[in-house]
Structure formats: structure tokens, C-alpha cells
């Protein structure tokens, strides 16, 4: 077990090193931050002075080692755009993103599993066909189209919900939540649905496929023969057996939700880390881009590590092989 975890940890470190190298090399292609930092009337000397202060003219290898060194010390420096420490900015924005991801995960799980079971059991009913064909839209439409569509329907036409922003925010210590006020729920509902649709579709189809597979197995036939009620068979026996792969997918997709939130947050002006990242890209705000990419990579690595360890605990075959 220890050697297994050590091996996985070493792999994770390798992944982080590659991510840092890739993201660092990206920064050299996104453009020159100095032009965005000074007005059009700045002189050549002023521009050179700022380049010098930021160390943009140092050899690439010096810049890279400085970047990695700061990363290891968890020092991400000052944002070029807002001139505030990057770790403060991320800590400030993270609650908004995590709450959005949490609500989306709950929505996609709840509806994904319920609808998956229904369409798995009542394969041929017309409701199942409608659900399945609508769910195609969930995977094929780009997130921003879904988001804008929801805004125009629910905010502009029906005027039931606010079109954007995060209101009803209450501070609980340093964590600012919008989940304990009605206003807050009204503003989170559209972005959360937008973000959840893709995952919901994925879970729905996965549960349905697993359900159909399990229903064909011998132990379900045996349960039927024992005269158990349909309800007990569907939920106690069949569903339980479908959940193992679903849980795996969910673990991996939490990371995906954080990554996808970039688009959703931009469309809904949701003040989370994704919106901050997009603004940083437009401005070539390298410190924020670096910190965000490292943060997302770290998140994926940690989730994968946990999933691997869970496998190890759950599935004896891996233990034997590894």
C-alpha cells in the first residue's frame, strides 16, 4: 500500500512539473503585459523600466527557475492588473466557484441518477425517448449558448430570475456564501444549471447503461424469482451495483466542473476564479494565470490520487497486481 501511494505521489509530482513547464512556455506566447500596464503615452524608457522590474528580459532559464522557485514557496506575487497579491485574490474568489461547483454537482447527480434509472427501466416509454433526445442537447450545445439562452428566457422574457451576478452574499468569517439567502439562490440557479447540464447528461447516460446491464444479470433474475417487489429490485439491488462507476466519474468530474466554470462564470458574471482567469488572459496577467493553472492542475492531481487510493481499498484485484 505504501509503495503504491509513493509511486502515485511521484507520478503526481511529475504531472505538476510538466504542467508548470507547459504553462510557463504558454506565457511567452500570450503577448506583452507591459503594453496593458501603461497608458499609450508612456515613453520607451518607462516601458523598458517596467520590463526590467518584472524581469521580462532575463534569460528564459532564469525566468523559469524563478517561476518554479516561487511556486514551491507558494508565492505567486502581485497581479499585474489589480496590483494585489494573487493568493489573496484566489482565496477571495474561491468560495464563489466552489459553491457554484457544489450546487451544479448536486443538480447533475440528483437529476442524472433519477432520470438514468427511469430511462434504464422504462426503456421504451415515450418519456424516456424525450429525455434521451433532449439530453443530447446537453452534450452538444456549447455552454455559453445554453447560458445565454437561459438568460434570455428566464431573465429577459419571464423576468423570474436575475440575469447575472452573485447577490445575497453573507460573510461567514472569511467565507462569503450566497447559499443561505433567497436572493443568493435566485442568482445561483441559472449558472448552476448551465454548468451542470453536461455532467447531468453524462451521469444520466452512464446510469442508464449500467442499469440496463445490471438488469440482465443473473442475480436480478434470481431476485425476481424470489418474488421481491419491483421497487426493491430496482433500488436496493440494481441501483447499488450501478453506482460504483458513477462515483468514479463524479470524482473525476468535480475537477472538470471547476475547469468548465471558466465559461459559465464569464457568461453570468459570477465572481469566481474562472472569471478572474479570463480577465487575466485578456490582460496577460501572468501571475494570476500561473497561479490558476497550477491550482487547477493540483486539484486534478489530488482528486486522481484520492480516486486511485479508493480503488486500491475497494478493488482487491489492483492490490494483487500493484
Amino acid at each position: 500500500m505504501i509503495s503504491f501511494i509513493a509511486k502515485r505521489l511521484a507520478q503526481s509530482l511529475l504531472v505538476m512539473a510538466i504542467v508548470s513547464a507547459v504553462s510557463f512556455s504558454l506565457f511567452n506566447f500570450v503577448g506583452d503585459p507591459v503594453n496593458n500596464m501603461v497608458g499609450q503615452d508612456a515613453t520607451r524608457e518607462q516601458r523598458l523600466e517596467i520590463r526590467d522590474k518584472l524581469g521580462l528580459d532575463d534569460p528564459i532559464i532564469t525566468q523559469y527557475s524563478r517561476f518554479v522557485g516561487n511556486m514551491l514557496k507558494a508565492e505567486f506575487g502581485l497581479s499585474y492588473r489589480i496590483k494585489r497579491p494573487v493568493d489573496d485574490l484566489i482565496a477571495e474568489r474561491l468560495p464563489a466557484t466552489l459553491e457554484l461547483v457544489f450546487v451544479s454537482a448536486v443538480i447533475s447527480l440528483f437529476f442524472g441518477i433519477i432520470l438514468g434509472i427511469y430511462t434504464g427501466i422504462k426503456r421504451n416509454s415515450w418519456i424516456s425517448r424525450v429525455i434521451l433526445s433532449t439530453s443530447l442537447a446537453g452534450v452538444s450545445l456549447p455552454t455559453f449558448v445554453i447560458g445565454i439562452g437561459l438568460i434570455y428566457l428566464f431573465a429577459v422574457h419571464l423576468r423570474w430570475l436575475p440575469s447575472s451576478g452573485r447577490s445575497g452574499v453573507v460573510a461567514l468569517g472569511w467565507w462569503k456564501t450566497s447559499l443561505i439567502t433567497l436572493e443568493g439562490w435566485r442568482s445561483i440557479i441559472l449558472p448552476a444549471i448551465t454548468l451542470s447540464l453536461f455532467q447531468l447528461t453524462l451521469i444520466l447516460r452512464l446510469v442508464r447503461a449500467e442499469m440496463m446491464e445490471v438488469m440482465r444479470t443473473d442475480f436480478i433474475k434470481f431476485a425476481r424469482a424470489r418474488g421481491l417487489s419491483e421497487r426493491a429490485i430496482n433500488f436496493r439491488h440494481a441501483l447499488r451495483n450501478t453506482l460504483v462507476p458513477v462515483i468514479t466519474i463524479i470524482g473525476l468530474n468535480i475537477g472538470g466542473l471547476v475547469a468548465f466554470s471558466v465559461v459559465t462564470e464569464t457568461v453570468f458574471q459570477w465572481p469566481g476564479t474562472g472569471l478572474m482567469f479570463i480577465q487575466a488572459v485578456n490582460f496577460v496577467d501572468v501571475p494570476i494565470m500561473a497561479a490558476y493553472l497550477v491550482f487547477v492542475a493540483l486539484l486534478f492531481v489530488i482528486i486522481n490520487l484520492i480516486v486511485d487510493i479508493l480503488y486500491f481499498v475497494v478493488d482487491p484485484r489492483i492490490r494483487l497486481g500493484g
Binding site: 500570450v30 503577448g31 506583452d32 503585459p33 503594453n35 496593458n36 501603461v38 497608458g39 499609450q40 503615452d41 508612456a42 515613453t43 520607451r44 518607462q46 516601458r47 517596467i50 522590474k53 518584472l54 506575487g77 502581485l78 492588473r81 489589480i82 496590483k83 494585489r84 497579491p85 489573496d88 455559453f144 445565454i148 438568460i151 434570455y152 431573465a155 429577459v156 423576468r159 436575475p162 440575469s163 447575472s164 451576478g165 452573485r166 447577490s167 452574499v169 464569464t266 457568461v267 453570468f268 458574471q269 465572481p271 472569471l275 478572474m276 479570463i278 480577465q279 485578456n282 490582460f283 496577460v284
Partner: protein
Amino acid sequence: MHLKQLLTASIIALTVASPALAENVLRWTSQGDALTLDPHSQNESPTIAMNGQIYETLVTRDADLILRPELAESWEAGPDGWTFKLRQGVKFHDGADFTAEDVIFSFGRAMHEASDYKEQIKSITSIEAIDDYTVKMVTDGVNPILPNQLTSLFIMDKGWADANNVSVPMNYAANEETFAVRNANGTGPFTLVSRAPDELTVLARNANWWGEGMFPGNIDRIEYRPIANAATRVAALLSGEVDFVLDPPLQDLKRIEATEGLSVKTVAQIRSIFFGMDQGIDKLRTSNVDGNPFKDVRVREAMNLAIDRDAIKRVVMEGLAFPTSMITSPGVLGNTPENDAPVKTDPERAKALLAEAGYPDGFTVRLDCPNDRYNNDEKICQAAVSMYARIGVTVNLDAIPKSQHFPKIQKRETDFYMLGWGVPTLDSHYVFSYLLDSEGSWNAAGYNNARVNEITDAIAVETDGDKRASMIDEAWTQVKADMPYVPIHHQVLAWGLASTVDIPIAADDAFRPRFAVMK
């Protein structure tokens, strides 16, 4: 009897209280939030727009862009500088008095190395208080346009800055934010109530403002919510969640106008869009011909004649542009209707000129163009490519983000490029010194005309208005003959408004809440 009295009292209380309930709240949005509330650390329009509601300047401009007194009541030029008479009885939001000491402190702060305004006021060599309400600014030589350069130079309270340890603006080296980034204490018509960057900033009317009652504005509370996505911004206006959108996308204007209860205001912006041709180097970098065709004025004229500016206005800009032959807009001193009139499109003559210049089969060149900076920038360039094809010039378009485009111009690595130029001082000197002077830092066209260089230097110190104006006109006429640039048009600004609010639109795109009226 007793009950009746109580009832009367409550009715009176209700009527007295109701004006407070019915306060005028203006909710507005634009793409980008202010980066900081520190008035000297960022010279950037959204930041100036936000700070301009809280802080004030000595000299300001009204919606017609005419210079008006703000914290200075009057000013006059002397032989070695300018003297400003300050407004008396002005108080900062925290109650401190505004005096000459605050002006001297604020200018010193704006001249600090970490300030983004040091370039604008570099002509000031020293500044002294003659008494509590008179300030003298000594300039390096005569500076006839100093007041024009002070319209975004905000005044802070020295006592407040010292007490909160913000006597200098942010600097890049210090790894922490200062108190002034999220707190503000100005003399302006609105005070800061709360601020969550990128979410919501709330301002409230300053009842002790010196200008109370002197301006038509009747806004009690301003709620500003930035919305980065253009479609979402328009949706917020359509759904009635905001009353004012500063920067609706051009393609949505018709839809806003067609919606009941909403309207659109437009005005010609102080920003001109043009192409630059590098006539300064011996061989073009991206061309198939030897030498540099742009050195020949006939080729430059052909490049100008090939562009159908009306077609660009009609097809690309949906009517929202003013075609031109100048690289500076009406409203800037020096723009004249004669020089501003666009040249007539004439591809035949353009072809003949090219043949005369020795390029009967045309030539190829790359056009560098931003795709996220100006209204429809990339589409304008695409239209130009097909117009140049008609006269046999093959233009290869390279449209890239502004962060990569502008360094090309500054490093002079481009043969043919798009640029837009705004003029904060509203004076041609700003255009000449950056774009037409041979030493100009944005003159990537490599334009070099001895007389224009001479005039650029002369108008920096000439105080006789008529003499100065005629020199400026002479220089523009010279530029028109030399055609170092291909002017396309002046941009148009558009605002989306609910019909319950009336805000004067101005060519500098600034929101002036003291003139905003809610019906």
C-alpha cells in the same frame, strides 16, 4: 382626540419619510471594473470613470468637452507657469478642509515614480502655495495646454493619505495592497459606500458637496455592477436590472432601440482608426518586391484611394462611423472640415498611380491588425484586404489579440498596421508628438517631415492662440499631402439607456453623474 392626533402624526411622519424611500437609484454596468480606487496608480478609463465620481480635479470638462472649473475656480498663464485660484469652503468626505496643501501633496504623489500620471504633468518643475487658496505651478518653458493635461489628475487629502500610509501610489515591488486601493476620500459628489471588485460598488450622494444644487443631477445612489460578457450586459438592460449600459455591442443597438422603455444615444468618439505604412525603412519585411513601395507618395495615395470608406461604414460598422481623411477627430483642436472630408474612392486612379510608381502588377504586404481592441477591428481589415485586391495589392491579413499586436508597432516590426488614437488633451500636439514627429514613440510609419517636426516643437510653447492654430493647420495640410497614414474613420460611441434616465453622452465616453437625471 388622542387617536386622531396619533393618526395625524403618523401621516406626517409617512409623508416626510416617503421622499427618502423614493430615492433615485441609478444602476449601471460596463465591461470592466476599476482596477483600483487609488487615483494615481492607473491611467485607465474605467478606473478614471469610477474615481471621477468620488475624487475631483482642479479643471474638468463638461459633456461638450469644454474646460470648466472644478476644484480650481480660475486659472491664468504667466511667463513661467500657471496660477490656480482654488475653490473655498470645499470639504473632503471625512470632513477635512480642502486647501493648497492638498493640491501640492496630490501633484507630488502623481509625480512619484510609481504613478501612472507622471508623464502627463512632466512639464511641471515646481509647485508652490502662494496662500491657502492659490497655487502656482512653474513649468519647464511655457506650456500653453497645462490645464488640458489636468482633467484626470485627482486631488487627495494630505492628512488622510498620511494617516493611512498611502502617501505614494502602489508600486510593483511591494507585495501587498495599500489602504487606498479599496478606500477613498475625495471631495466629489458621491461617497463610497461599499466595494466588491468585479461584483458591486455602491456610491451615495454627498450631501455636503460644494456643487449641491448647481447641477441638474438628482441621483441619490449609484450601483455599479461590471458585466464582462457583452450579451449578458445587454440582457441586464433588456430585463430592467440596470438603467444604463456604457458599452453595448454595436450589433445589439437596433434591438435595444426596438425595445420599449429603452433608448440608444450615439456621439462621434475622440478616437480615429487608421492604417500606418512604414515609409522609413529601405526594404519592407513582408513584401515580394525589393525596396519599399511606401516610400513613394504615389503608392501611399493609391493605398488611400483604394479604400471605400462609405462601404466600410455601411457594411462593417452598421452606419456607426464617420469616414475621414484625418487621424484625429472633430473636437480636437486642429481638426478642420476641409481636412476631415474623406478622399473619394477611385480604384482606377489608384491603379494608374501604382503603375506610374513602377508597380503595374502591384505588390504583396502583410497587414497587422488587432482583433479585440477597436469596434469591428478585424472586419475592417478584412474589408480592406478585398479593396486592395481590386488595385492589385495583395494584402495578407494577420489579426491577433492586442497584447501581441501593439508590441509589434512599438518595436517597429510591422510594415502595415492598424492603429486607433484617442486624444485626452483634445489638442493636436498630442497627435503630432506621438504619431507624426520623427521621434514620436508611436510613429511606426517612420514619417519624417522637417516642417512638421518643427511645428511639433513650436506649438508646445506657443501661447498666442491664433498663431498656434495656424501652425497646426499648416502641419495638418502638409500631412494631408504626404499621406503617411490611411485614415479610415472616427469611431462612434453608443450608450444604452432606460428611458427613465437622462445622461448626457460625451465624446470622451465619460459618465458624468452630476448631470444624470432620473424621471
